[in-house]
């Protein structure tokens, strides 16, 4: 099988589906979404809690509910094909995509453009090195979430959660609802890495203690976890001798962060950003390789799926326009740098056509390095201030989104910087 697609989309999570819909809305005639799982929807199918979609769909949805909405948008559209149970093995720089499906065998698809939407995966114990035995009972929070919410068994009964990332917090509540005892949540940083709402409704509501600046120094048990030793850490995150105490548990859930899934991006030799762990993109979500776009958690880890959809719609639109030859090629590139307390900013560059189209939007998505109160976010180009936004609170766990007003586009020089002013 060999056919020329306008847009080939790798990954059928909310990013892939939103990109497909937007490519369709913007005139692409032949679109395909390839997903390795047995169904579309991505990781949201296991995130059964609510709170999704208020901004994107204007109604409050659960994870599966949000996935359902995204699937509804693409289904029954002649121009959009979807393939499940199909794993993309390789993407080549000439936009040939090699995939394998148990029934159809090896597939070779050719595209005018490709959008990468493979999502992210969890950091594991190996990635953070916990000393101690290697007994059974240590899981990543996401693996536990899949077990409890989709497969129907419990990872254990007395739980400790390491890391205050959102998935861990959500799992603290989930395990409590299943009748388990969640003993504690430990966070090595002096601040939580999850959304405030999740601290309130997942820990405080169930009287689960959160120990900030604490970590696991040993895991005990031979066959199965029987407990852990915890210690307080200093500013350099090294355990302070004498502060150790033990907690009894049969299960440790790791919620120590997510990393974009970028094996395919690396295979393509795309420019990568070492801080986001994703490909460098411009405001259209085009990567360093012409005609290759990326969106969602593959670019940078999002906490709000609504932003994932928004970003993917941009990628879908510009991939569709590119496939139809409707994008200007007379461009200059403006570098975007994150400075002064801003850790990451996506896009990392902006493509400015000589003639800026009326519908051009430049929206920046940022994460700060440490929590702050009452700061100003300043976007500048040289001495020109493009935007000055007071922020009552800024936390590393909450992505900040701002849009550069179109009226300021003519002030954009060679470079843009985004930073905090205290």
């Amino acid at each position: 099988m060999s056919q020329l697609y306008d847009v080939i989309i790798v990954g059928g999570g909310p990013a892939g589906l939103s990109a497909a819909y937007s490519a369709w809305e913007n005139g692409a005639k032949k679109i395909i979404v390839i997903e390795r799982d047995r169904e579309l929807g991505g990781i949201l199918q296991q995130c059964i809690h609510n709170g999704f979609g208020l901004h994107h769909f204007k109604e409050e949805l659960t994870g599966p509910g949000y996935a359902h909405k995204c699937i509804e948008l693409v289904k029954d559209k002649l121009e959009i094909e979807t393939l499940v149970d199909t794993m993309v093995l390789d993407v080549q720089s000439n936009k040939t995509v090699i995939a394998v499906n148990p029934e159809k065998g090896l597939l070779k698809l050719e595209g005018k453009t490709v959008i990468l939407t493979m999502g992210c995966r969890e950091r594991t114990r190996g990635a953070i090195r916990i000393p101690g035995e290697r007994p059974a009972g240590v899981f990543t929070a996401g693996a536990a979430q899949r077990m409890v919410n989709m497969e129907g068994y419990l990872p254990g009964h007395k739980i400790v959660i390491l890391g205050s990332g959102d998935i861990g917090l959500i799992m603290a509540r989930r395990m409590s609802l299943e009748g388990c005892k969640v003993q504690a949540c430990l966070e090595i940083c002096p601040f939580s890495n999850g959304l405030t709402r999740n601290i309130v409704q997942c820990l405080n509501d169930y009287d689960i203690p959160l120990y900030l600046s604490h970590t696991i120094v040993a895991i005990h048990g031979e066959k199965r976890v029987t407990g852990i030793t915890v210690a307080k850490v200093d500013e350099r995150m090294t355990p302070i001798p004498g502060t150790e105490f033990d907690i009894e548990c049969d299960t440790v859930l790791l919620s120590v962060g997510l990393i974009p899934e970028n094996e395919l991006s690396r295979g393509l030799d795309l420019d990568m950003n070492p801080l986001t762990n994703g490909p460098v993109v411009d405001q259209h979500r085009e990567t360093s390789l012409d005609g290759f776009f990326a969106a969602g958690n593959v670019v940078h880890v999002h906490d709000l799926v609504d932003f994932v959809s928004e970003e993917a719609e941009i990628a879908g639109k510009y991939a569709a326009l590119k496939a139809q030859g409707k994008l200007s090629s007379d461009n200059r590139t403006v570098k975007v740098s994150a400075i002064d307390g801003v850790r990451t900013c996506v896009p990392q560059k902006i493509t400015m056509p000589a003639q800026i189209p009326a519908d051009e939007k430049i929206k920046l998505f940022m994460r700060v390095a440490a929590p702050h109160r009452k700061v100003k976010l300043v976007v500048k180009s040289g001495d020109n201030v493009l935007l000055n936004r007071p922020l009552p609170v800024a936390k590393p766990s909450e992505m900040i989104a701002v849009e550069i007003p179109a009226a300021k586009f003519n002030l954009i020089g060679e470079e843009i910087s985004v930073g905090l002013v205290l």
Partner: protein, 125 residues
């Protein structure tokens, strides 16, 4: 008159706006810091009678998965959440189910239905 200000985070969506709530004699008289109108509603409930949504699963037979995710159609009293979750652990339904189907009507007489949050088709073995 007793006037108190309380700072709390709205939990109605992931924005988690920090609300400053003025309480006069047990009544919320002013809320600032909210991005949308749901903020003040949350603050009023939180001060008088805290409520929460419930999301959990029930067993399902004949579907591609052994579990069906469910959600409360509206908020439930916070102190009854664990009772409702416990009750739902004993519920079993039969595929097929559509998103929005009522799984338990008027759970524990609290006046709220529990509904399916995804489709689950009949799965041929």
């Amino acid at each position: 008159m007793a006037v108190e200000t309380r700072v709390m985070n709205c939990i109605m969506c992931p924005m988690g706006c920090e609300l400053t709530v003025t309480i006069e004699d047990g009544n919320v008289t002013n809320v600032t810091g909210n991005t949308c109108p749901r903020g003040p509603i949350y603050a009023k409930n939180e001060v008088t009678a805290p409520k929460r949504m419930l999301t959990t699963t029930v067993a399902i037979e004949g579907g591609a998965l052994p579990l069906l995710p469910v959600v409360s159609a509206d908020v439930l009293p916070k102190e009854r959440i664990l009772d409702c979750a416990c009750y739902l652990r004993g519920v079993k339904v039969q595929a097929p189910v559509k998103t929005g189907d009522v799984i338990v009507e008027n759970i524990l007489d609290l006046g709220v239905n529990i509904i399916a949050s995804r489709d689950m088709e009949l799965h041929e073995q």
